[in-house]
Structures are given as structure tokens and as C-alpha cells.
């Protein structure tokens, strides 16, 4: 019966054209601009969605559990050892000048301003940006995103906003925890290897910090959170080419979000130092 496969009607054959270099470059420029535009739109809506309903609070809580609680072990572990290794590296240098007690100051500043936010951001990007991209990508290729749209749900509200919001809330908290644990790691290392008194280390580490240092760390972690969640969502929702595409998007999400985090870190540092100089 009609179950027998029938050949599809042949499309009109077209003469293969050899594109010129200019055309290739033009195409490349066009697609890049389009990508940036789509990414900006997605990022913009991820926040403006919050102004009006429906809001998906349960989904946001689930994501906070996944991104926040789920990342806690790696953040704790890496935070502790980053603090310790910082002390070992800087402590020996300061000892040469007989200034071993300065170790607390410098390690604390480095952790709060720089290492806490960026290491936590990169770790969570590796874990969650890829997770988000692969989850949303799989949903896209199995038409679950279309099914959602077909049932009257806006995927931007249901899928993107909860992930971005959850990331924005949890990453600063994770960063705080990471810095705290890093200082403990530093303290342990300085007691064991530099023979510095634990209270001295701790007191100096806390005393050196100013409001501007904390603001710098905090604002970095907020920006990194936004980057890793929106890049993950963008890569996931723009998968092309089935399962293989999902794999590519997952890798792409980690690469792009990590690079963006590192690049933006430089600019944020510059801005923060300038502002701290001017106002604080």
C-alpha cells in the first residue's frame, strides 16, 4: 500500500556557484552580527521578563538548587586549596624580605578582588554553562521547546529567566563562601609552613579589606553569573544539527563563557580601580 517509500520530487538542480572571498567575508560578518544581536536579545529579555508575569518561582528554586548547592563541593574544595597555595607562593617571597606577616594582607586582597570571583566563575561556568547548554539543547532537538511553545508557554520565561536569576543569586554567595574558605586555607598554610600566628593572619586579612574591594569582588561575580547563564542558554537554544549539535553547543558554551569571563574581568578590574580611586 501507500507505506512503500516514494522518492521525493527532485528539486530544480542549480549550478554550483563558487563564492568569492568578499562574499564569504560578508556572510561571516552578517552571521556574527546576527549572533550578537540574538544573544543580546536573549540577555535583555531574561531580565525584562521579571517585570511582568508569569514568573516561574519553582523553576528558579530548582535551578538555584542545581547551580548553587550543586556547585558547593567543587567551590569549597578549590577555594581552600587556592588560598593555601597563594600563601605558599607569596609567603616565601615575603619571608626573603622578612615581611612574612604581610602574607595575610596580600592573599586576602587577591582572593576578594580577583581569585574568588574569577575562579568560582570559571568553575561554575565549566559545570553549569555546559549543563544548561546541553539540557536546553536536548530539549530543542527533541522538539520539547516547540511543544512548550505550542502549549502557550514562553521558553524565555520558563527556561532562560529562571536559570539567569538563579545564577545571579547563587554565584555571589558561592564566591563569598569560596573567599571565606580560601582564607581558612591560607591560614592553615601560613600556620603550618610560615609559622605565622593564626590570629595575626586572620586579623591582618580582614583589616586590609575596604568596602571598594568587596564591591569589586561582588560586582565581578554578578557579571560572571550573568555571562555563564546567558551564554549557556543561548548556546542551548541555538543548537543546529541534532545530537552532534548538542555536543558542540556544550563545548562552545564553556569556551565562550570562560573567555568572556576572563576578558570582562580585565575591564571590570580597570573600572573598579578607577571608581575606587575616585570615590572611596
Amino acid at each position: 500500500m501507500a507505506d512503500t517509500p516514494i522518492q521525493a520530487a527532485p528539486q530544480e538542480a542549480r549550478a554550483p556557484e563558487v563564492p568569492s572571498v568578499v562574499e564569504v567575508l560578508q556572510d561571516l560578518a552578517k552571521t556574527s552580527v546576527l549572533k550578537v544581536q540574538n544573544y543580546s536579545k536573549l540577555s535583555y529579555h531574561s531580565i525584562t521578563n521579571l517585570a511582568t508575569g508569569p514568573r516561574y518561582i519553582q523553576d528558579t528554586l530548582d535551578q538555584m538548587d542545581d547551580i548553587g548547592v550543586g556547585s558547593l563541593p567543587i567551590v569549597l574544595l578549590s577555594g581552600f586549596f587556592i588560598g593555601a597555595v597563594m600563601v605558599l607562593q607569596t609567603g616565601t617571597q615575603f619571608e626573603r624580605f622578612g615581611q612574612a606577616s604581610l602574607t595575610g594582607d596580600i592573599v586576602s586582597l587577591a582572593l576578594v578582588r580577583e581569585l574568588g570571583p574569577s575562579i568560582t566563575g570559571l568553575l561554575v561556568a565549566g559545570r553549569c554553562s555546559s549543563g544548561i547548554a546541553s539540557e536546553l539543547g536536548s530539549m530543542l532537538v527533541t522538539e520539547q521547546v516547540d511543544a512548550m511553545r505550542a502549549m502557550g508557554t514562553d521558553p524565555s520565561r520558563k527556561l532562560v529567566t529562571p536559570r539567569v536569576l538563579a545564577s545571579l543569586i547563587t554565584l555571589p554567595l558561592l564566591t563569598t563562601i569560596s573567599v571565606f574558605v580560601g582564607l581558612i586555607g591560607g591560614m592553615v598554610a601560613s600556620v603550618l609552613s610560615l609559622r605565622i600566628n593564626a590570629t595575626t593572619f586572620w586579623e591582618r586579612a580582614i583589616k586590609i579589606l575596604e568596602f571598594s574591594d568587596i564591591m569589586q569582588g561582588f560586582s565581578k561575580s554578578v557579571v560572571f553569573a550573568f555571562i555563564l547563564a546567558t551564554v549557556g542558554c543561548y548556546q542551548g537554544l541555538n543548537v543546529r544539527g541534532g545530537t552532534q549539535g548538542v555536543g558542540r553547543a556544550t563545548t562552545q558554551a564553556v569556551v565562550v563563557s570562560s573567555v568572556l569571563i576572563i576578558v570582562s574581568d580585565t575591564f571590570l578590574t580597570k573600572i573598579a580601580l578607577y571608581l575606587a580611586d575616585k570615590f572611596f
Partner: protein, 279 residues
């Protein structure tokens, strides 16, 4: 099966208006134009069988009808509203009037069968008790009440297809779009699905657009009817039942509507291309 119960019966006004109308709709991709000026309409309570080879754009056409895709040109009206230029936020509203049964089911694989079916009611903020009773009722309708706590991955292909129909059904939409509901299923399971679709038509009175590459699906829908009194599906090709639940065929070929007519006209057509569907 309790088909006459309150939540499943819809009393749709018959206005004689087209539920879905396509006017010269075109859609193409980088590799060329797929739909090249499609014009047709589906009246309320009509079942339109969209017949076409694999790759002719049946899925695209259904996605256009629910606003999941936008046409390059041409107009699409659904329930009297022009959806081709509508903003996504307004489309979300229209889509609540349309049940979409995806080719592969497209069930949410991390949710249980019950949660999948309840999805739309949850979105609408219906209270839990009502959700539970309606989900159970719809699952009974597709004869899958026992799978309510299973995950979609634990079901067979035919069962997944039925869950997908149940999910499309829960909001009591006046229009249901079926994308190749029997593709890749064995003949017996296909029959179960088709009899489910015709029960749906004869109990709810939905307008249906059904894409398929199998002619026998269309003939089954035209020649069989569900008798709510006897609660049985029976062969019935009388003009009377054809008037109550009319079935029409559209054949899609090379991006256009190649044939449009009743099952009888299709059977008797001397056209060599159409005859290839019949052998």
C-alpha cells in the same frame, strides 16, 4: 470509559466559518523554497487529511498553522484571526486553542506522564484537585491510566504517542493538529491511534488537521465512526455521518496543494501520481 462526563465534552458553536485558512503561503530555507504558495481552508468540525511524501513540508505546514513558524509571505488565519504577523505574546494565547501532537511525541522527558499531561493546567494555575481528576480522565480516554507515574522513556512508541494526544487534549482545544501520528508504528498500534483520533472527533467535535504519508489512515478516518451510545467504533460510510464529521483530503506535492477532494474523489481519480498512493 466515561466519555459523557463534564470535562471531556465540548459544545462548540458551529458557525460555518473556516477554522484554519491558508492563503498563498510560502516558506523556504537556504536550500530552496519548500512551500510554494499553499492555499486551503479547514472548516469547523472538519477533518482534513494532509497527504504527502516524506519531506514535502507537512510538518512545516502544521507548525505554520500553530504559529510555531512564520511564513515568508502569505496569510494564515486561525479561528478568524490573522496569525502570520502576530506578536509572539499574542500567539501564545492563540496556541491555547490548538492541540499539537508532535511526530515523535515531544514529551518532556524529565517529567512523569501525569505531569506531562497536566502541564498546561499547571501553567493556567488550575488547582491541584481539579488537575488530578482531569488528568486521570484524559489518561483513561487514551487507555493509559496505569502509566500516570511512569517516565516517558519507560513507555513504548505507541504509548508515548497516546500520552502526547492526551496532553494536547487536556485544554479541550477546538482545533487539534496531528503530525504523522502513525509514522514508525506497527499496523496494530497505528490502528489504536487512529481509532483514538476518530473517537476524539466524534466525541469532542474537534477540527483536525492530520498530516500523514499513509493513505489508509485517511480512509479509516473517513469510513469509520465512533458511536457514543454503543461506545464502539464501527464502519459507517453513510452520507449522514460524512456530513456530521466530514473528511477531506489534501495532497501536497512539490510545495503546492496538488489535489483537494473527498475520499471518494481521491479513490476515483485517474491521476497517475495519486494512483501511486493507492496501490
Amino acid at each position: 470509559m466515561n466519555l459523557s462526563s463534564s470535562t471531556l465534552t465540548t459544545t462548540l458553536p458551529v458557525t460555518g466559518q473556516a477554522a484554519i485558512e491558508f492563503r498563498d503561503v510560502r516558506l523556504g530555507f537556504a536550500q530552496g523554497e519548500i512551500l510554494r504558495g499553499v492555499t486551503f481552508s479547514a472548516q469547523e468540525r472538519e477533518t482534513v487529511i494532509l497527504l504527502g511524501e516524506t519531506g514535502t513540508g507537512k510538518t512545516l505546514l502544521l507548525k505554520l498553522a500553530s504559529g510555531l513558524l512564520r511564513p515568508d509571505s502569505g496569510g494564515i488565519q486561525v479561528l478568524g484571526k490573522d496569525i502570520s504577523g502576530m506578536a509572539e505574546s499574542d500567539l501564545l494565547e492563540i496556541r491555547r486553542q490548538i492541540g499539537f501532537v508532535f511526530q515523535e511525541g515531544a514529551l518532556f522527558d524529565s517529567l512523569t506522564v501525569g505531569e506531562n499531561v497536566a502541564y498546561r493546567l499547571h501553567e493556567d494555575g488550575v488547582d491541584d484537585e481539579e488537575i488530578e481528576s482531569r488528568v486521570k480522565e484524559v489518561l483513561r480516554f487514551v487507555e493509559l491510566a496505569h502509566t500516570i507515574d511512569s517516565l516517558p522513556s519507560e513507555l513504548s512508541g505507541g504509548m508515548r504517542r497516546r500520552v502526547s494526544i492526551a496532553r494536547a487534549l487536556i485544554g479541550q482545544p477546538p482545533i487539534v493538529l496531528y503530525d504523522s501520528p502513525t509514522a514508525g508504528l506497527d499496523p496494530i498500534t497505528s490502528q489504536t491511534i487512529i481509532s483514538l483520533i476518530l473517537r476524539l472527533r466524534d466525541v469532542y467535535g474537534v477540527t483536525a488537521l492530520l498530516a500523514t504519508h499513509r493513505l489508509q489512515d485517511g480512509f479509516a478516518l473517513a469510513n469509520f465512526h465512533f458511536d457514543p451510545q454503543a461506545k464502539k467504533v464501527r464502519r459507517d460510510s453513510s452520507p449522514e455521518s460524512a456530513r456530521v464529521a466530514p473528511t477531506r483530503f489534501l495532497v501536497l506535492r512539490a510545495g503546492r496543494i496538488y489535489f483537494e477532494g473527498t475520499p471518494d474523489e481521491l479513490m476515483k481519480s485517474p491521476d497517475p501520481y495519486l494512483r501511486r498512493f493507492l496501490i
